[in-house]
């Protein structure tokens, strides 16, 4: 277990450092200092979404084994179908674009870049004058996890590295990381790619808050795209998983806007995108069951 512990400590350290630097640069030291003193009221204000996220995370941690068994028993086995559909795409990526530098970069992105991309928005949106975006972010994360968990149970599939379509670059380069990823995930949870969906969720939120954090837009989109590519480059996910992950992310952002209305329209921190606002309302109730 000491391998796991050292990986976790390294992760916490580096993500902490990155959040600190980004916080100073993007939010500003004064606002950051203020936020540190407003933590309790902010959390209290967002208690319902936070409780929802915690419920989903706990359910995921506790029920994963049981759901995995259920998935084995009744899930649709789609490994063969996915492979038949997209073929050697991931293998092709690895055959043509693998370099040592790229592997180091994408391994770093897959673990550190990804966690930073998910964690920093918590701080950034807590620092906004209103908690709307903060709540939406939490709701969107919770929905991603909840829906992802349901699909994982329904779909039983292994990733490209397990079919020898691609090499397991992440674990060949950093065997330690597998101690971490195997703790938080099963190797049959590939469809959809939650790495992609959560990263894209954070990226889309980055775009939606472009007025508040103009630099974060570029950073978050760059990270989100990198995470997306890294899942395939490292041989962990199929292209189809990534596409499904993008779809899930957009759906979750949309639903988070439906579920968390802006409290007073006058000082809305961003403009709600037209295409999201124009969507019909059906579907919200369904996903709401999973999220809250």
């Amino acid at each position: 277990m000491s391998v796991l512990l050292s990986v976790i400590l390294r992760l916490i350290f580096w993500v902490g450092v990155m959040c600190f630097i980004a916080g100073i640069a993007l939010i500003g030291p004064r606002r950051l200092y203020e936020v540190a003193h407003e933590v309790v009221p902010i959390l209290r204000d967002a208690k319902v979404p936070i409780a929802g996220l915690l419920v989903v995370l706990v359910a995921s941690a506790v029920g994963r084994g049981a759901l995995q068994t259920l998935s084995e028993l009744v899930g649709f086995e789609l490994t063969g179908a996915i492979f038949a559909l997209e073929g050697n795409f991931v293998g092709w990526i690895q055959a043509n674009f693998v370099t040592t530098e790229a592997t180091i970069y994408f391994s770093w992105i897959y673990i550190y870049g990804y966690v930073f991309l998910l964690v920093f928005p918590f701080i950034a949106y807590a620092a906004l004058p209103k908690t709307t975006m903060f709540k939406r972010l939490i709701v969107a994360y919770a929905l991603n996890y909840a829906i992802g968990l349901v699909i994982y149970t329904l779909v039983f599939a292994h990733g490209p590295r397990n079919l020898d379509v691609a090499t397991s670059l992440l674990y060949s380069f950093n065997p330690d990381f597998q101690a971490l990823t195997s703790e938080v995930n099963e190797n049959t949870n590939v469809f959809p790619s939650l790495h992609t969906s959560l990263a894209v969720t954070a990226g889309v939120f980055g775009i939606l808050t472009r007025r508040e954090y103009p630099i974060w837009v570029w950073l978050s989109v760059w990270l989100a795209v990198s995470v997306m590519i890294s899942t395939m480059y490292l041989g962990i996910h199929w292209l189809i998983d990534v596409i499904a992950g993008i779809g899930l992310a957009l759906a979750c952002v949309y639903l988070s806007y439906r579920l968390i209305e802006d409290e007073d329209g006058a000082r809305e921190p961003d403009d709600r995108p037209d295409e999201l606002a124009a969507e019909p309302t059906d579907g919200a109730a369904v996903a709401g069951d999973g999220g809250d």
Partner: protein
């Protein structure tokens, strides 16, 4: 579904034309015929995390099948699920897997593997549904023939099986183990991760280790042997007869002592102190004085019960017997097993030869007082689910009570299993320095089998062999911890980092070079008898057709697979008995100069399939292609 739909659409489209033209009869004759669709076959195997080699064989075959116009799919499931489908439910087209015995096995193992009498049973006994009278006859004859005749029968049997291909043998892998020898010694002998290999290891006390400056760190700790595996089944199920949870049965055979343990140079009396031939058809076995882990005495009644129970786990409660999915060949050898007194058992074996008769003694002995309560048919909340499954077969057996040298202490599912040494085991009481032990036989009593078929060179002195020195006073570990890791690379890493003493599960070619890079890790590899093979469900058309299987077999380039997938850590083979080269007839041995299979040579070169040749072979066998080059199936 597609077939019905397409017929219906044809019908709808032609409805008007039929009504107007009036040629109803002809149209009915046309649309009334079922059209052929492309043949679809699924190759079932393990994900690379569990077995880095099997999936490569599966991909090799799948790719070639696709080139030949078959809609070939690959499907990966976990270890227990693969066995559940292939062995228990027979719900597969083609699987790629390993034979369950890693240590070279008695040729009679083929009996249960391919005999038609087991085609309807669930388990390792004939998972293919293969039925061939000529093979059945040979399997029966090799059981009773004397040594010389038996060789001939076995040769004929292998030739028949290679010709008919109920399964295609691909290669015998090297069982690669990464280990470190600073805490335990003795890894270099035989199969280090078999039960025998683990039992003979010697613990090196901290003060005797060289180059150890932090030796006092674990001076007070018990001697713990730490092993890593990617196979988590040992953390969830300890039922010796649950075939889907067993790999090679290593830990089960250490929890449950067999009467006789197979050793490198012949059978070794284990729970049996010795055995002798009472008459030409009866073996009399003397039991050692032993107790079960729960303190109950182990008696001859337990032995007699075990054999009866393995043959029918419902003990007569079910309509038809419910045999175990494992050890099935062995339990069909004795006709009756009778307890004569508290420590003597008689096996009536009929006319089988000595080698086969002794193989009957290689099953784990189960305690009657535990297993006799597990005979009822399975039910969930009182509703009977399955007429053919008993509680004994589905029980996780989470408090295993055996008589072996280890006991289960604790387990965390998917994480680890902790065993402890059984301090009452007979091995511990044996003096390792006993000078008589190395001799083959120390008493003068002959155990020659009465009857004229003796003296043909069979080793009949096994019954009085003493336990070799290597096992005396063992095991020298006090605790045995099996830790589950996510992949072979992680397993090697654990050994390299000093967190484990050895790896248990298969190590793929990408992880092997890592062993060399780790400073304190060493590598030992032994040719395993657990051959990789492609199993065909011959209950399903067109796999039921030996000609079809022969063409499939010729699409497997065994030499290329060994070079590419195994990176040379395997030996290609034609016969299932290739681990015992003496039994394989000359023309079935692998010839490196020829470089391809003797019976079904690869149609192609260097791993590249000759597509035209394969298509021609399918056509010759009576199969057809459509205009798109798809192989058509009528019977699927």
């Amino acid at each position: 579904m597609t077939r019905t739909r397409s017929r219906r659409s044809v019908l709808a489209g032609t409805g008007l034309a039929v009504a107007s033209a009036g040629c109803v009869g002809r149209v009915r004759n046309i649309v009334g015929r079922e059209r052929s669709d492309q043949l679809t076959l699924e190759v079932l195997t393990l994900p690379a995390d569990s077995d880095p080699n099997a999936v490569r064989i599966a991909q090799h075959l799948r790719g070639h099948m696709s080139e030949a116009g078959i809609d070939a799919r690959i499907n990966t499931v976990d270890q227990a699920e693969l066995l559940r489908r292939s062995l228990l439910n027979h719900d597969y087209d083609i699987y790629v897997g390993q034979f369950p015995q890693a240590v070279p096995f008695e040729a009679d193992s083929l009996y249960s593997f391919v005999h038609s009498r087991f085609a309807a049973e669930s388990g390792w006994q004939n998972p293919f549904g293969f039925t061939e009278l000529a093979v059945d006859d040979l399997l029966g004859e090799q059981r009773s023939a004397d040594t010389e005749r038996r060789m001939e029968h076995l040769a004929e049997l292998q030739e028949a099986l290679c010709e008919l291909q109920p399964l295609s043998v691909v290669a015998f892998p090297d069982a690669v183990t990464a280990y470190r020898d600073e805490r335990f010694d003795g890894w270099e002998f035989g199969h280090p991760t078999s039960a025998q290999g683990l039992l003979r290891l010697s613990f090196i006390p901290p003060e005797e280790r060289d180059g150890e400056d932090d030796g006092d760190e674990d001076a007070d700790e018990p001697a713990t042997l730490r092993l890593t595996t990617t196979d988590d089944r040992i953390t969830e199920n300890w039922n010796p007869i649950a075939a889907e949870y067993r790999r090679h049965g290593t830990f089960m055979s250490m929890l449950y002592d067999p009467l006789v343990r197979r050793h490198d140079d012949g059978p070794l009396p284990w729970l049996a102190a010795g055995w002798e031939w009472a008459d030409a058809e009866t073996i009399r076995v003397d039991l050692r004085d032993a107790d079960w882990h729960d303190g109950e005495p182990l008696t001859a009644d337990d032995v007699a019960f075990t054999y009866e129970f393995l043959r029918d786990t419902s003990s007569g409660e079910a309509e038809t017997p419910v045999p175990t999915p494992i050890f099935r060949g062995r339990t069909t050898i004795p006709e009756t097993v009778t307890a004569i007194d508290r420590s003597t058992v008689e096996f009536e074996v009929g006319s089988v030869n000595t080698a086969v008769a002794e193989r009957a003694l290689e099953v784990p002995v189960l305690p009657e007082h535990i297993w006799r309560d597990r005979t009822e048919l399975v039910n969930i909340a009182g509703i009977a689910l399955d007429e053919e499954t008993t509680e004994a077969l589905v029980s996780p057996n989470d408090e295993p009570v055996g008589s072996g040298p280890i006991t289960l202490v604790d387990a965390t599912a998917e994480t680890e299993a902790v065993f402890e040494r059984n301090s009452d085991h007979f091995l511990l009481d044996l003096d390792p320095l006993d000078p008589a032990a190395e001799g083959d036989s120390e008493d003068d009593t002959t155990d020659e089998r009465p009857g004229e078929e003796n003296g043909t060179g069979q080793d009949d002195t096994g019954g009085t062999r003493r336990i070799p020195n290597a096992f005396r006073g063992k095991p020298s570990f006090e605790r045995l911890v099996v830790e589950v890791v996510p992949s072979d690379i992680a397993a090697v890493q654990q050994v390299g980092d000093g967190l484990a003493d050895a790896t248990l599960s298969n190590i793929g070619p990408e992880a092997v070079p890592r062993i060399g890079r780790e400073a304190d890790a060493r590598l030992v590899n032994v040719r395993s008898a657990a051959f990789y093979h492609v199993g065909y469900n011959v209950r399903r058309a067109p796999l039921s057709n030996p000609r079809f299987r022969a063409v499939l077999a010729s699409m497997i380039d065994k030499a290329a697979i060994v070079d590419d997938a195994f990176q040379g850590y395997a030996a290609p083979a034609t016969s299932m008995l290739a681990a015992s080269p003496g039994l394989v007839p000359e023309d079935l041995r692998w010839d490196d100069d020829r470089g391809t299979d003797a019976v079904h040579p690869f149609r192609g070169r260097d791993g590249e399939l000759d597509v035209d040749a394969v298509r021609e072979a399918f056509r010759e066998a009576g199969y057809r292609y459509n205009a798109e080059g798809e192989l058509l199936s009528r019977d699927q």
